[in-house]
């Protein structure tokens, strides 16, 4: 009799499986998990902590908080960050002070590990939530993060 009970049990398990997929089939209208990506661009918001790219926020006076201490450059495992710096004369104290000329960020080499942002003493760099990083030319992935003519916010010391 084992022969027939095998058949019946087999068919029963098959029908159980079909009931699961059948249930999803009937609820397919609201159950779909597809993200229709380019269409939902408006509503697609990344989480605050999402690591899309490294950015350097500037305030309304075109000032940033980077003192050029190069800690991020040392912390980076891949050589993603290159800081080209210069010595300038501080207007108030008249002393010589390090300032950045260009904060070069190679997005193409970045692994989004977050060590640079972690070590930054002045919180000059942050995570940007942009995730659409594809470009036609690879050189476009090398970015200068500080805006032209920008300078260090007053009172920021490393």
């Amino acid at each position: 009799m084992g022969y027939f009970s095998n058949i019946f049990n087999g068919i029963k398990t098959l029908l159980t499986g079909m009931s699961i997929t059948g249930k999803y089939f009937l609820n397919s209208r609201k159950g779909a998990i597809t993200q229709q990506y380019p269409d939902n661009r408006e509503t697609l918001k990344m989480f605050d902590r999402f690591r899309g790219e490294v950015i350097m926020p500037h305030d309304e006076n075109n000032e940033h908080a980077c003192t050029g201490c190069q800690k991020c450059e040392i912390a980076c495992p891949n050589g993603t960050i290159e800081i080209i710096w210069d010595r300038g004369i501080d207007e108030e104290t008249g002393k010589k002070k390090k300032k950045i000329d260009q904060f070069v960020y190679h997005l193409s080499m970045c692994t989004m590990c977050g060590l640079c942002i972690d070590v930054c003493p002045t919180d000059a760099i942050e995570w940007g939530q942009n995730f659409e990083n594809s470009v036609y030319d690879r050189t476009a992935l090398t970015r200068v993060l500080n805006e032209p003519e920008s300078k260090v916010r007053a009172g920021i010391e490393d």
Binding site: I7, L14, G17, M18, I20, T21, G22, Y24, F25, S28, G31, A32, I33, T34, Q36
Partner: protein
């Protein structure tokens, strides 16, 4: 030879008024063939679309919905793309057989459509051995698969082809025997007669228990005949990559692909004809409007096609030896016993007649 109950007659009568009788019969055949070819090439494409949408709905997805309204033109676009693609092949392949294989598969699939009774009138070719013809034709397709797999000069394709041979030889038996069970009820192989008998109730009702068993066996064996999951040993993408059509591209691949869907339609259509009364409406509700037969026929067929899709998107694939175990240890013995039971029922007039 008179072919009754067919649209060929009507076309032929119209042609005879213009030319000689022999010429007219040839022209009529060609016209009908072209009509069928056109209709089913398109229908095959839509079946592909249906499969993709149904699969998507089973899988919490949306499916193709970009090209045309709700993706209606998606498969057309795909077909266009496939036509425009380069045909690649392997070195040292048997070029002649390699090129021949897809045509074998697609032609055998299309040929079987000729005898399908869509309505009382819309049937191209109503021969008196209709069921026999269908079974015979549907197993020619496997030769194409064997040829394709062997001629590709690819080991994965060869394994796929050999599996296909094993599978079809085994499951042919079950398809044939389960249909034979039903023929005990009808007493005729001619499809129009089979439909005629069902005016007194669909065969699955008339034959009750053995008919239901025969239907289940037929659906299992039929799914196996079309090489679809859970019997897709031939392709088995997680084992063989793409199986027998690994080396095919472009339109030749599309032929294989299309043939699979037309075959699926065929298996479902045969089931609809033999078990569910073809174009007969349930309880004769639309008997007064004969052209609605097409609707009923397609509705029944598509429900069965949907069932096969449901199988495909739910079940894991069998292993090749389990496939044979299922056939030879389960389906075949049950089938043989079932025929005896059916014969007994017919003999004792235990048929349910409405």
């Amino acid at each position: 030879m008179r072919i009754p109950l067919s649209i060929t007659d009507n076309i032929q009568e119209w042609l005879v008024s213009m030319m000689s009788e022999s010429a007219a019969s040839y022209v009529a055949m060609i016209i009908v063939a072209l009509i069928y070819l056109g209709i089913f090439a398109i229908a095959g494409l839509f079946l592909v679309l249906i499969e993709r949408r149904v699969a998507a709905w089973f899988q919490l997805r949306i499916g193709p919905n970009r090209v045309g309204f709700q993706g209606l033109l998606q498969t057309m676009a795909d077909a266009l793309k496939l036509v425009s693609k380069e045909l690649t092949g392997t070195d040292r392949a048997d070029k002649f057989l390699y090129n021949l294989a897809p045509y074998f598969v697609i032609i055998s699939a299309l040929m079987a459509l000729g005898v399908m009774p869509f309505t009382k009138e819309f049937q191209a070719f109503d021969i008196n051995i209709g069921i026999f013809f269908l079974i015979a034709i549907s197993s020619i397709g496997v030769i194409g698969i064997l040829l394709g797999g062997w001629a590709s000069n690819n080991k994965f394709a060869l394994i796929g082809a050999m599996r296909s041979g094993v599978q079809t030889i085994s499951y042919e038996l079950s398809v044939g025997l389960s249909l034979l069970t039903m023929i005990l009820l009808t007493g005729s192989l001619q499809l129009s007669e089979i439909v005629e008998v069902q005016k007194g109730g669909w065969l699955i009702v008339q034959g009750h228990i053995p008919a239901i068993i025969a239907f289940m066996i037929y659906m299992i064996a039929g799914t196996a005949e079309t090489n679809r999951a859970p019997f897709d040993m031939v392709e088995a993408e997680s084992e063989l990559g793409a199986g027998f059509h690994t080396e095919y591209s472009g339109m030749k691949f599309a032929y294989f692909f299309l043939a699979e869907f037309i075959n699926m339609f065929l298996i479902a259509a045969i089931a609809a004809t033999v078990f569910f009364g073809a174009w007969l409406s349930p309880f004769g509700i639309t008997e007064s409007i004969p052209w609605l037969g097409v609707f009923w026929f397609l509705a029944k067929t598509l429900v069965l096609v949907f069932l096969m899709m449901w199988f495909r998107w739910t079940f894991p694939r069998l292993r090749v030896d389990q496939l044979l175990t299922l056939e030879w240890k389960y389906l075949l013995p049950i089938n043989l016993v079932n025929i005896v039971i059916m014969a007994f029922i017919v003999w004792q007039k235990l048929i349910i007649q409405i």
